[in-house]
């Protein structure tokens, strides 16, 4: 009875909550259901009930915990600074340790093997991509199919970037290790290209260390503490000896910043160096290392990934970047989760679908067919719920495109 | 003189008053000078199941079902301003205090109750019991929003208090608001504490020829009459100048409130504000009116009893969730045209509530809708 793992929700985390309820309106699952047990405050109360030995870790507890998107919108709203995301990872770790079932074991294998192996992932991608265009899609489970609808069509397979080093253009001001990521690497090569180009132009030497692996966010969110620790340890070794560790997936950069939890002192050092690419690029734009376009490209809808906005509190950076590209950034009606939430879309397809539809409706209301999203999961979710004439891209891609276009034009018309 | 009346006069000897002008003749007139005395009167009446008509200034006796009282209880001697705290902007007054007198006192320190502006002889207790609001309700809300505390003598002679003498209070059930517009059905409203508002630095009345869809940001009051519209402004001089310029029309310094409407019959039409413009267009040309846009109240003066048009207007209002209420009429009118019209929802509940305060139903019986 009670907690058994080192990751378990801690008394200080749970006691920080004073039950004021200011988190409730920010919680997407509470908004959908109106149910206290689907709210951050209710989930904390449930964790406390387990901690106090009032209830066992039972089906009800598992249902309540797994229904959470881990979007951490509640954290940003909490005046008592409850580290809700951390406590929820703890609760998930307890569930994994105490209530291991077949589904969870399969997920762990997937997370442990597939996403850590670029080769396997590429293979899976190709097969799924092929399946998507053929009748074979029917054998893919409906939940997975929905997620796949948002995949990028990779017309131009970009070379893997691992192992490469790119020198700074102009005066070097620092060095960056790029987290190639799992999904990003296989499915979002264009974002890497833009990232490397922009970082080097901003004065960074960029290395893509070969020994790196998945950041471990998905494992941590799912309660696979052992997996999360193993992946963190590998990355700490691989991503050392640089000034900054940069990721262009908000979910990954958010998790890197929490490495102290998963890898002790070494983790804390890496966490201190971790940055989301949007922070670094926006910083370079603001101090003039990167240019601002004067051309007017119209409006772009900015979708805020939860792990950027809520977990890292980065709000302005993506807007600065698209503005520099010549777009006019427009906020969506709210900053609620799009429903992708890592594995959530597969575990709770209905809720995920509703949130995805809500988000798509907000994007349509903006009146632009260009959407900026700084996280691959969100990008896929949003694309899956929009018509195919919408373009969903990472802010750095939009910016890099604008720079490249300008350079091409000035080459053609040297005047 | 009947023997019952003589016996009653003997019983109530300590409280007897001179005949009250305008009150039904034949009833015993009393004017208790304290709430304790008033409780005595009601206890006596309750014991003998004798109907009591409460009488303030007599200005709103035309509203509601007719009462045939054995006793008329005048509040004329409950006439002291008990406590005025200008700094806290609250005043405690007994029921029989004339509004005009109270306002004159309060104006010394630039304050107002925002009760009706042309009260005549109306008393604080009378206006509250009848739920009558002034024109300034557009800006400050109706009379019930002034009510902080009430001292009630229930129909069976209990002295109870609800609310408190602070401007913001959620301690216990809101008896002060329940008493507003209760027409004595809970008992005698003996004493109240009211929230005050400051009188503005500058006051102005702007007169326009035509109604408008917009009179600017929250004017103090707007009165639409058949041939003119008056907009009342309050605030700093600079604000009033700016608003006058926005409105146009002609203006006079100070607030010039219209006199009560003349006519054989007085009506109060109460409808959702959005319906106001429509119905004013259809108002018979012989009727005069004062319409309050944004509030939804139309005070109407009818020259000759016209049951058909009045009934049609009542049906129209009631079918839209409103009401057409008699506010003044010759006695004969009430038998052919009901004082209230349709009985509101929740009448049973109203009866149960009233029974808890006035179990023998002796104070103003039949005055409320549904003969309550």
């Amino acid at each position: 009875m009670g907690w058994i793992t080192a990751q378990a929700p801690r008394p200080a985390e749970l006691n920080a909550c004073v039950d004021c309820g200011l988190c409730l309106p920010h919680c997407p699952t509470y908004r959908l259901t109106g149910d206290e047990t689907a709210s951050p405050r209710g989930r904390i109360a449930a964790m406390r009930a387990v901690a106090d030995g009032l209830v066992p870790i039972d089906d009800a507890f598992e249902d309540m915990m797994s229904f959470c998107l881990q979007c951490r919108a509640c954290e940003a709203a909490c005046p008592s600074l409850v580290p809700f995301g951390r406590a929820m990872e703890g609760a998930r770790a307890e569930l994994a340790a105490q209530r291991s079932d077949a589904g969870r074991r399969i997920r762990q294998v997937l997370l442990g093997r597939l996403v850590t192996s670029p080769g396997l992932l590429r293979l899976a991608t190709r097969s799924l991509g092929l399946a998507r265009r053929t009748a074979a899609i029917r054998i893919v489970p409906a939940a997975l199919r929905a997620s796949l609808a948002g995949m990028r069509s990779v017309s131009r397979p970009l070379p893997p970037v691992r192992g490469a080093t790119h020198g700074a253009q102009g005066k070097q001001i620092g060095s960056v290790a790029l987290l190639a990521g799992c999904v990003m690497d296989a499915w979002f090569g264009g974002v890497h290209e833009a990232t490397v180009e922009l970082l080097t132009r901003a004065g960074y030497r960029v290395v893509v260390p070969p020994g790196q692996t998945c950041c471990g966010a998905l494992a941590a969110h799912d309660g696979d503490a052992r997996g999360a620790r193993r992946l963190a340890a590998r990355n700490i070794r691989a991503l050392s000896g640089v000034d900054l560790v940069v990721s262009n997936a908000a979910g990954c950069s958010a998790h890197l910043k929490e490495y102290a939890e998963w890898a002790g002192d070494g983790g804390a050092i890496l966490a201190g160096r971790a940055r989301d690419v949007t922070e670094v690029i926006a910083g370079a734009i603001e101090d003039g290392r990167l240019p601002t376009m004067s051309i007017n490209r119209g409006v772009v809808a900015v979708q805020d990934p939860c792990h950027l906005r809520h977990a890292q509190r980065i709000v302005e950076a993506p807007r600065v970047i698209v503005s520099a590209a010549g777009y006019q950034p427009v906020d969506l009606a709210d900053d609620q989760c799009c429903g992708a939430a890592g594995l959530y879309s597969m575990l709770h397809p209905e809720t995920s679908h509703t949130l995805g539809e809500n988000k798509a409706a907000q994007i349509r209301a903006v009146g632009s067919t260009v959407v900026a999203s700084a996280n691959p999961g969100c990008e896929m979710q949003v694309r899956a719920h929009l018509d195919n004439w919408y373009r969903v891209a990472h802010p750095v891609e939009l910016y890099w495109e604008a720079i490249r276009e300008k350079e091409l034009r000035s080459r053609e018309n040297p005047e | 003189m009947t023997s019952v009346k003589v016996a009653l006069q003997r019983r109530l000897a300590a409280f007897l008053s001179d005949p009250i002008e305008g009150a039904p003749e034949g009833a015993v007139a009393v004017a208790p000078a304290t709430l304790v005395a008033a409780a005595e009167v009601l206890k006596t009446a309750s014991e003998h199941s004798l109907p009591v008509l409460v009488w303030g200034g007599g200005t709103h006796q035309g509203i509601g079902g007719r009462v045939d009282p054995a006793i008329v209880l005048s509040t004329a001697r409950l006439d002291s301003i008990v406590d005025w705290q200008p700094e806290d902007m609250t005043v405690v007054a007994e029921a029989g205090v004339r509004i005009a007198d109270l306002e004159e006192r309060l104006a010394e320190r630039g304050q107002t109750t925002v009760l009706p502006e042309t009260p005549g002889d109306a008393t604080v207790g009378g206006v509250i019991a009848a739920g009558i609001s002034g024109f300034r309700r557009l800006r400050y809300g109706p009379t019930r929003d002034r009510m902080l505390e009430v001292d009630l003598i229930t129909g069976d002679g209990r002295a109870i208090r609800g609310g408190g003498r602070v401007v913001k209070n959620v301690t216990g059930y809101d008896l002060p608001r329940l008493a507003t517009g209760s027409f004595g059905s809970l008992g005698l409203i003996g004493r109240v504490c009211l929230k005050l508002w400051p009188l503005p630095e500058a006051q102005r009345t702007v007169t326009l020829a035509q109604p408008q869809s917009d009179y600017g940001y929250r004017p103090l009051a707007v009165i639409e009459e058949r041939h003119q519209v008056r907009v009342y402004l309050a605030g700093t001089s600079a604000e009033i100048e700016a608003r006058t310029a926005e409105l146009g029309g002609s203006h006079e310094e100070g607030w010039w409130w219209p006199d009560p409407l003349e006519g054989l019959i007085g009506l109060s039409l109460r409808i959702a504000p959005r319906l106001l413009a429509d119905i004013l267009e259809q108002m018979p040309s012989s009727w005069s009116y004062q319409a309050l846009p944004g509030v939804g109240e139309v005070r109407i003066g009818v020259r000759d009893f016209d049951p058909e048009t009045m009934s049609a207007l009542r049906r129209w209002a009631e079918s839209r969730g409103g009401a057409l209420v008699l506010t003044d009429a010759p006695a004969s009118v009430y038998s052919t045209f009901d004082a209230w019209g349709a009985v509101p929802a929740g009448m049973e509940l109203q009866r149960r509530v009233v029974a808890r305060f006035d179990p023998d139903r002796i104070v103003n019986p039949g005055r409320l809708p549904g003969g309550l």
């Binding site: - | 609250t90 602070v166 209070n169 944004g294």
Partner: protein, 474 residues
Amino acid sequence: MRVVTFVRELQDLLGEERVLADPLRRHVYGKDGGIRRGDVAVVTLPATVGEVAEIVRIASRHAIPVVPRGAGTGLAGGAVPTSPSLVVSLTRLTEIEVDVESSTAWVGAGVLNLDLSKHTAAFGLHFAPDPSSQAACTIGGNVANNSGGPHCLAEGSTVNHVLAVELVTAAGEVLMLGADAPDPVGLDLRGIVVGSEGTLGIVTRVLVKLTPNPPAARTLLAAFDRVEDAAATVSGIIAEGIVPAALEMMDQPMTIAVERFVGAGFPTDAAAVLLAEVTGHPAAVAAEAELVRAVAESNHATRIRVAADQAERDLLWKGRKAAFGAVAQLAPDYYLHDTVVPRTKLVEVLAQVYDIADRYDLAIMNVFHAGDGNLHPLMAFDASQEGVLDRVHAAADEVARVCVAAGGSLSGEHGIGLEKRDLMPLVFSEADLDAQARLVEAFDPDRLFNPDKVLPTGSRCFDMGRPVPEGIWI
């Protein structure tokens, strides 16, 4: 057995998903924003007024008490069941229907206060009551508690903005009390339902009056070296004949806590901070803001800051509204009081409040709606310390007595609930309380709805001896 049939009947009505009967979920619904925990038999999540009425009929048949619940942000235990009860969560009643021409809206009880104002912003209208919990609390909860907020100073509390309520009665009937027409005929029962804390019936829909958004607003922050000067400024402003939209005060410990949370540049070295807002016609706002500044200066304000734009205004208000939660960073538990005194007694009462805290060795900070004399002394403590809860209780009790003795009242906006029920005899006589009890009886003869709230019943039905879980006492 009885409970089993009862739950089955509810499930037949609502389906299994909207009837929560497992021990964990019942536990989660056992409490609101206050400290007390109660006993939940089953939770229902109806989506229509018809379902609410049917739930009430089922509960009535089984004689199981019914406790309505909104967002559970209340601080007086109003949504905490005292005996195993059926909790009716009204959060799914979220429809809004605006009548722009009449400036009114029919609003489901589960609509969040701030959502309503966001919804009506397109029409230039808002719902005036703005409790600090407005982002989370429901309109139904506002009606139950007659909620206030900083902007009640000029606009009045919830009751001033409710034109009608749709009420499910103890008999399971649906009654509409009030109307969109002014002065509905008959007794004004809507007025008594507002603030009745769910004891008279379940409010499912509310017709609210909407207030035009002011064309101009100015927010000023003034710092003082002495609390007395801040209080004198409040009186001075009112004496000048203006009623600002809001007039809020924080003492130094509170300012420090808030600043740590919002980082809005609140002066943490000031003994008291006054937040004043004037709204209205642009010409009026400029003049009144000048007046406020002049009064503050003549009362020795050490610094006056005027919010430059909407963003700065929002930030200052965010700081004020997050005050209670922000305190949780200082100590794991806190008790937030809510009392009212005549405005002129503020300084005198405040001195006594500090003295009481000293005597009980408790850290106290103050944030209050100074304009209407509504105090919120807040005691921060650690419930795990031996005997501290007793001291907090005793101090809270004394504070209430001091306020009542100064001509004040027990609660300005949080309600009586369980928290202050037994203090009611301080302000009301037996006859007064008896009259209120009779009134309740007229609505709910069997005390089906939220029994044991508001009025003292002589015995408390819930277990006071139970250890307080993770001590949260807002």
